[in-house]
């Protein structure tokens, strides 16, 4: 560590060049961080899915409804602990551009199956008492500046409005907290009975059911049992673990993983070239100095380490600042309509830091070895 001042002094020789190289690394890692957050936003549902939850939907497609009576029938299947029915309301607040998910649920079963949502007891009781009560996620509350007690009107293009009314009126009775990192906290939940009553037609239907099983190891077997129960009926089901359900959506958007990996590789390759170029220029300029250091007694190994430290310093400085900025941008949820909650996973931050170190080492490798191998006499003679 006593040589740190030497390394930094070397970096300060050509400040502009060092700054530009650090900035290149900064951009590369900012991009890496943001793309990782984007990928997580599109595919993250897979990772936070619970192993003990199944999604049961209409076998043909998610947009086909199921009869409400399926709730009790699924509940009777051995191994099933709780059933939470949900539907897609498709509510619009003032303008379709303000999109957020609106889902009618049955309060007790919903909170029982989705244990990661914490609701204060008094708010839960208020929800049970208020027919048109709604539990709104903190992300959406913040977005529109709503407070508990506010009345919010929503229109539904899918289901139409209640008879003689121009919109559905909801009273915000509470909010929920997600105890899982990266969980979506933008959804607007309200009561299924208010939904079914207000609908003009197609009553007695639900969209899909989330099932909690007693034993996660039995999840696949119970899914099969559920499908067998409704086989050959007018409403056949497809039950699958929550993770598989989330994955199928991500896969529909496209092979996000490959695209992100492709772009990131191109970016890192470029920045590797830039850093390597800088380092080799820097070493070439200092041939005489390195000769002097060696003549003074610095070993070959030490010279190698000094050069590598220099390139690693550049890569890590740019890398950590870039990752930090990416993390801050992701946490501020810049695109709520497309991806409600953006989150840069810690795992990707650590990967990024490791890549920064590796980048520094690879970029500095060739110049460092050249510096190590310099013959003192030749170096001192060079003009």
């Amino acid at each position: 560590m006593k040589f740190l001042s030497l390394v930094i002094a070397n970096l300060k020789r050509k400040k502009l060049r060092t700054v530009l190289t650090v900035l290149s690394a900064f951009i590369a890692f900012l991009l890496f961080g943001l793309l990782c957050a984007l990928k997580e936003g599109l595919m993250g549902g897979v990772n936070i899915a619970d192993a003990d939850r199944l999604i049961v939907r209409h076998k043909v497609t998610l947009i086909q409804p199921l009869p409400e009576s399926y709730e009790t029938r699924i509940g009777r299947i051995p191994g099933v602990d709780a059933v939470a029915v949900q539907s897609w309301f498709g509510g619009i607040y003032q303008d379709p551009k303000n999109f957020f998910a609106t889902i009618p649920v049955k309060p007790e079963t919903f909170l029982d199956v989705y244990r990661e949502f914490k609701v204060p007891e008094d708010q839960k009781q208020e929800w049970l008492r208020t027919r048109n009560g709604a539990l709104v996620g903190p992300a959406t509350m913040k977005r529109f500046g709503w407070k508990i007690g506010d009345t919010v009107p929503l229109t539904s293009p899918i289901w139409g409005q209640p008879k003689d009314q121009s919109a559905w009126e909801f009273k915000i009775v509470g909010s929920y907290e997600a105890t899982k990192k990266g969980a979506d906290t933008s959804t607007f939940y309200f009561r299924h009975d208010y939904f079914d009553e207000g609908k003009v037609e197609r009553k007695g239907l639900i969209g899909w059911a989330t099932v909690r099983v007693k034993n996660p190891d039995q999840a696949a077997a119970i899914a099969k049992a559920i499908d067998t129960e409704f086989e050959n009926s007018p409403y056949e089901t497809k039950a699958e673990p929550e993770g598989a359900f989330a994955a199928s959506f991500a896969q529909q958007v496209g092979d996000i993983g490959t695209i992100v990996a492709g772009v990131v590789s191109a970016v890192f390759f470029t920045i590797l070239l830039v850093a390597a170029n800088t380092m080799s220029q820097a070493v070439r300029e200092r041939t005489e100095e390195i000769g002097v250091l060696k003549a003074m007694g610095f070993t070959n190994g030490l010279v190698l380490v000094l050069v590598l430290m220099e390139s690693c310093f550049i890569a890590m400085l740019g890398g950590l600042v870039g990752l930090g900025l990416a993390w801050m941008i992701a946490s501020s949820d810049p695109i709520p309509t497309i991806i409600p909650t953006l989150n840069l996973p810690t795992r990707d931050v650590i990967t990024g830091a490791l890549i920064a170190v590796a980048l520094g080492l690879i970029a500095g490798a060739v110049p460092a070895i050249q510096a190590m191998r310099l013959q003192i006499a030749t170096a001192l003679r060079r003009n």
Partner: protein
């Protein structure tokens, strides 16, 4: 004319000396090539989707939905309403009746051929007049479905992207089996991502009673749209909204293309900044390694402007070379590449081909020239400001 020949002399001199700085030159060029490649690739997706959605073929077709719906899935029309719509003025008629097709739009699950994972595929129930209404449906394999039978025809894009859609195969959906009897094209339009069948057979299969979701109508001339629209909106028995087909498609594409374009441009702007830093690095390096040469030239009497221009020229030439390589690579790698993605507006897949259009290529070259100029500007100014005597003394 003196300074013109000065410029020419210095520029050709510095360009010919690039091979001495090959490492830095390649770095700058590759950086710019990378930016151009990514930007062009991502914009080609957006262009490809737009192309699919705007290739309607017929400029005189209108779509009618229930008022308040933003897509066919949210809309609902009774048979009575569809009859009233079909009888409205402005619609073209043949002896069989008005050219109006009442249609149903649902989604089915089919595996994607590329990943073998399930995807939402649009299944459309159409009326007998639909082929005449759209005007550009051509069977490239097999035949049309027969009304009243469980037969489907598959759009060319859907047939390419999703498994189980070859002619002769059967698709089992719920409790019904449908026979694939043909594959059709629709002028490259969005219908090619869909599977079509007779609406009358689809309704009972999906418990839709006697309801439809949309009416596609061929107008008797492109000018009759307003007449048609007014007739529908003033009819007290109907609560509908009417759009020209091209506008309807354009609205559906906005969400998906905006998403891709925003992300693509954002990534490319960041990469461009990175490439800019790389180019600046290279050019500063070029100027500093040629300090003595530049000072000698200036001592000899070459003006400041020629020196500046020579540095800029070098930077722009490197950038253009990088940009050309990136554009060519994008064209070879991406143009025509078939893909499919989720269209959020219809919650189903849309198949498209990457379209590396001439405009995109021109845009790429322009971007690289701009990057080259920016990358060379400050180094050029520094080169012009070098104090001659001290620079000549530099070792």
């Amino acid at each position: 004319m003196n300074w013109l020949s000065q410029i020419f002399a210095i520029v050709s001199f510095s360009l010919r000396s690039i091979p001495q700085r090959l490492g830095s030159a390649i770095t700058a060029a590759v950086g710019i090539a990378g930016v151009v490649l990514v930007l062009t690739g991502v914009l080609a997706i957006s262009e490809g989707i737009k192309k699919t959605l705007t290739a309607t073929g017929a400029p005189d077709v209108a779509v009618v939905l229930r008022s308040g719906s933003d897509s066919e899935m949210n809309s609902g029309l009774t048979r009575e309403e569809t009859r009233l719509i079909a009888d409205s003025p402005g619609i073209a008629r043949i002896d069989r009746g008005p050219l109006a097709s009442a249609e149903l739009f649902v989604i089915i699950d089919l595996p994607k051929r590329s990943t073998n994972t399930p995807a939402n595929v649009p299944l459309r129930g159409v009326g007998a007049a639909s082929f005449d209404v759209r005007g550009n449906i051509e069977m490239v394999q097999g035949r049309r479905f027969e009304s009243g039978k469980n037969e489907v025809i598959v759009g060319a894009g859907a047939a390419r992207a999703f498994g189980g859609t070859d002619v002769g195969k059967s698709i089992k959906i719920g409790q019904n089996t449908w026979q694939v009897v043909g594959i059709f094209t629709a002028g490259g339009g969005i219908a090619e991502s869909e599977i079509w069948t007779d609406a009358a057979v689809l309704q009972p299969a999906y418990n839709r009673g006697d309801t439809f979701q949309s009416v596609y109508a061929k107008l008797n001339s492109s000018g009759s749209f307003n007449q048609f629209k007014d007739a529908l909106t003033t009819n007290p028995q109907l609560k509908t909204l009417v759009k020209p087909l091209s506008e309807f498609y354009a609205d559906q594409s906005t969400q998906v293309t905006e998403f891709i374009t925003t992300i693509g441009v954002f990534i490319s702007v960041l990469m461009a900044c990175g490439a800019l830093f790389g180019a600046l690095n290279t050019m500063y390096g070029a100027v500093s390694s040629r300090t003595r040469e530049i000072s000698t030239l200036r001592a000899l009497g070459f003006g400041t402007l020629p020196v500046i221009i020579s540095v800029l020229a070098e930077s722009v030439v490197l950038a253009l070379i990088g940009g050309a390589i990136g554009a060519a690579a994008a064209w070879f790698a991406f143009d025509g590449f078939q893909a499919s993605t989720l269209n959020w507006a219809t919650f189903s897949q849309i198949t498209f081909a990457f379209a590396v259009t001439p405009q995109l290529l021109v845009q790429a070259i322009v971007w690289s020239a701009v990057l080259g100029l920016l990358g060379g500007l400050f180094p050029a100014i520094r080169a012009a400001r070098l104090p001659i005597a001290t620079a000549l003394r530099d070792s």
